[in-house]
Symmetry: C2
Subunit: 145 residues, 2 copies
């Protein structure tokens, strides 16, 4: 299986764009994070490792990574967007506790069925879906009594 770097190199070549050291270290950093991230925390964790890139370069890279299907917007909270890398992982959805902010990942085959039915019914070509389920985890339910 190709690495995310290979995928991205091909993606850039196809678009007549350049593969730079800055782009490489940002992608490496993103794929080393096994969690959702936002631009600022990514920037800070890179600075700590002496991997200096400007925020502007991160912001400029993100739309490309999304277009290349390497990362995805996960959710928008308190004024900023959170992302996660998706290449090499099975697609999943998020179950979030509205109280303690715990996030669990899950997948369900019925979503593919729903996609197929929507495609048929509305003549859409489905590209992707995003399902967020919000609730209270066991612990937060107990505390509310």
């Amino acid at each position: 299986m190709k690495s995310e770097l290979d995928i991205f190199r091909e993606f850039l070549k196809k678009k007549g764009m350049r593969y730079t050291p800055e782009r490489e270290i940002i992608i490496k950093e993103i794929f080393s994070i096994h969690d959702h991230f936002d631009v600022d925390s990514l920037y800070i964790s890179m600075r700590k490792k002496e991997a200096r890139v400007s925020k502007a370069s991160i912001y400029r890279l993100i739309p490309l990574l999304i277009e290349a299907n390497l990362i995805e917007e996960v959710f928008f909270d308190r004024g900023q967007m959170y992302y996660e890398h998706i290449y090499g992982h099975e697609h999943h959805c998020h179950l979030r506790c509205v109280n303690c902010k715990q996030i669990l990942e899950f997948n369900d085959p019925r979503l593919k069925e729903i996609e197929r039915d929507l495609a048929d019914k509305f003549n859409y070509k489905i590209l992707r879906h995003k399902l967020e389920v919000m609730g209270l985890c066991q612990k937060c339910q107990d505390e509310q009594e």
Copy 2:
């Protein structure tokens, strides 16, 4: 069935907050819009009707309406949040064309099943879900050839 205004009046009373004419006309405006809205377009459409309220009052009202379960965040796009009123309507999900931005609404009983299974599996009390399906509508598929 209680009106959205009654619901909100009770909600405010319970919180020791006040029911003002500004809050009333904003809610009336929101519930007269049968579509998704953002703060700026709401503000503009109110100005046109000589219903003058400040944007600040709209921004300050929105979290209250969400807490009162009268409106919901629908999606975040191009730097701003879109909302819709949900009181008095059946819950639905959104199918969006990523190219022309058309939005279709749908509902699917399988989502309730998924919710039930998640509740059992993770011991969550499910409150709500948000499913966005992104794709290309027929017209935009044709134009891409």
